[in-house]
Symmetry: C2
Subunit: 361 residues, 2 copies
């Protein structure tokens, strides 16, 4: 496995070109590229340009609409439901988050449920939009079913991530951005490529037996919820995933549970949909709706400093503040570029050939 490093600028330019070729309006292509690039910059390689050709394949199957008419279909002063018109989640999500922020600016808080959307990239991107306005940012999405609830041998829930982001003062924002499964699918994919066993507690086989086989998911197995088993609280991970599913889809009118359409183009969506597309949920709350923003930031700095100086088990390892590793990646990769593995580079160049645009450089 070799790495090739690209500048943020070149990779962004390439990504925008792909979205332009899909027929996205220039502003949308720019925004969608920004969401993917932010993921690569923040070190979340699984959600960045590595997925670009996946979006293109869904567009070719007409499951993604490059020129959607995204609009509010229901609202109150502080709540709204947005119909994404099968647009790129990378475009629909920031649209919805902006509405939440606008409502928060006027009324203190804003909450937007989204239906008829697609994969929205990293949850952190959207939540951080609120942080830039001195607000608490919240974002979540449901996803295609890979996770079995406690006691189930069926996959009924996605890895359904939730993200909470908070502005700090002298420290980077605290960003809790997490899948509600014990391990993200990306971690399994790494083990699949290396053909290495996975830790017990990540997955089960089609009958529900514990399994360390990384290929189990392709044979009808399931990922396990955060907590892994009942004794260790898998019902809590299941409950969190259910919460994300209900807020994102039952509230908005999207598909939920096993009806969520798959992100991959080679699997067809269920032919008995219970809603439209996949669902997201966003929130923004003005910090100064509760106390002066500077007071909050001073105390969050104090919180962070106390946790960073905690006594640790291994003196070589510090307690990590949620969002800190991604912040450090972003600083480093903005300077030194973004490394991509050869498989991703080949995939992107193959995509470029098909779309008749310039290769990666």
């Amino acid at each position: 496995m070799n790495f090739y490093t690209f500048t943020e600028h070149n990779l962004r330019h390439f990504t925008e070109n792909v979205f332009l070729k899909m027929g996205c309006p220039p502003a949308d292509a720019q925004l969608a590229a920004d969401v993917l690039l932010r993921s690569d910059l923040r070190g979340i390689d699984s959600h960045g340009v590595a997925r670009l050709s996946g979006y293109v394949r869904l567009w070719k199957k007409e499951r993604i609409n490059a020129t959607p008419d995204i609009k509010i279909v229901h609202e109150t002063a502080t709540t709204a439901t947005v119909d994404g018109d099968r647009g790129l989640g990378l475009v629909v999500a920031p649209f919805a988050m902006k509405i939440a922020i606008e409502k928060a600016r006027t009324y203190g808080s804003g909450w937007v449920a989204v239906k008829n959307s697609n994969h929205f990239g990293i949850a952190g991107y959207h939540a951080l939009m609120a942080v830039a306005e001195d607000m608490v940012g919240i974002s979540m999405t449901n996803a295609s079913p890979l996770v079995a609830p406690t006691y189930s041998s069926e996959r009924l829930l996605g890895t359904n991530p939730m993200c909470y982001a908070f502005p700090a003062g002298k420290y980077p924002p605290v960003v809790v951005d997490m899948a509600t499964a014990a391990a993200a699918n990306g971690k399994l994919e790494i083990a699949q490529r290396a053909n290495l066993p996975i830790p017990e507690g990540w997955a089960q086989d089609a009958s529900g037996n514990a399994s360390t086989n990384p290929h189990q998911l392709k044979e009808g197995g399931s990922l396990l919820p955060l907590g892994s088993d009942k004794d260790h609280g898998s019902h809590k991970g299941y409950g969190l995933s259910a919460t994300v599913d209900i807020l994102s889809a039952v509230l908005s009118g999207a598909n939920y549970g096993p009806w969520v359409p798959p992100f991959v183009s080679f699997l067809e969506p269920p032919n008995d949909p219970v809603g439209e597309g996949i669902g997201h949920f966003f929130g923004a709350m003005r910090i100064d709706g509760f106390r002066p923003a500077q007071d909050f930031k001073d105390h969050l700095d104090n919180w962070i400093a106390r946790f960073k100086s905690a006594k640790t088990i291994d003196p070589g390892k510090q307690v990590i503040i949620p969002g800190e590793p991604e912040y450090n990646y972003e600083a480093e990769r903005k300077k030194n570029g973004i490394p991509l593995i050869d498989a991703v580079v080949n995939d992107l160049n193959e995509l470029a050939r098909k779309l008749a645009i310039a290769q990666l450089s």
Copy 2:
């Protein structure tokens, strides 16, 4: 260990009398008793009348104020911060939740952070107040430090529960009410009484080594976050607990992290507080702020029915809907009474003697 069963009516009457003896106004005594009784009815025995004498001891130490002046100290249209004036959390929390519900009624959503409070009972009680109004209910609280973040050998976070509750149609509400630790402290207490080993992944010793000793917590050990270890996502449990701490306390001006005052009266609060009392956070969102309430309920019923009929690993075990076991307990105990173990009965009768009120009957 023997059980004695009491009617809801008698146990409620006894509990109210205790709060009246503490000097609580009658309406507050009634409300506080209702919160505790609801916990016992719902089968969450650790958070019900078993804690009554604990509240009394804190009141005797003047750490609970029986006649608080609870008030809003900061607000916008949809957000507020409430000062609990060291009142019973059992009274402060419903006060705050009512404000969230009122704001939601007018603006679609309402969010209230609380400082200067005490233990608020079960999170589910407060969230369910919103469900009764066809709203999504959210409640959380921080708590005294028992949990070590990933890599830490220090206890910096409480078991910090979060609750999300949703109204269904023909089914009971979905109530996700969970501590963000791998195992609740109550489960450890059961193992302590029985002197039985606990599963690996619940706790660590003072140096951070994995431990199955149920008494570890008394010897400087810690509970572990949901996920148990880094490989199984303990950083996610830590992130959730941090989220609860920040929303409940950094946002409101309460104590956070290791500064949260202990619930037990024999431990003194830290002498360098960073805020006032403990903190809570509440939210309410009108369902019809997103879609007609009946549509939501119909789809949530469909969600529930699908999950209940899932293929299970053990044919004897159904997938459990969050909140369903507690709902069933409530129906059963309302009819057949509330069983208390002899240790709790003795403790309550000892309390009655001290307060010169009638014994349990």
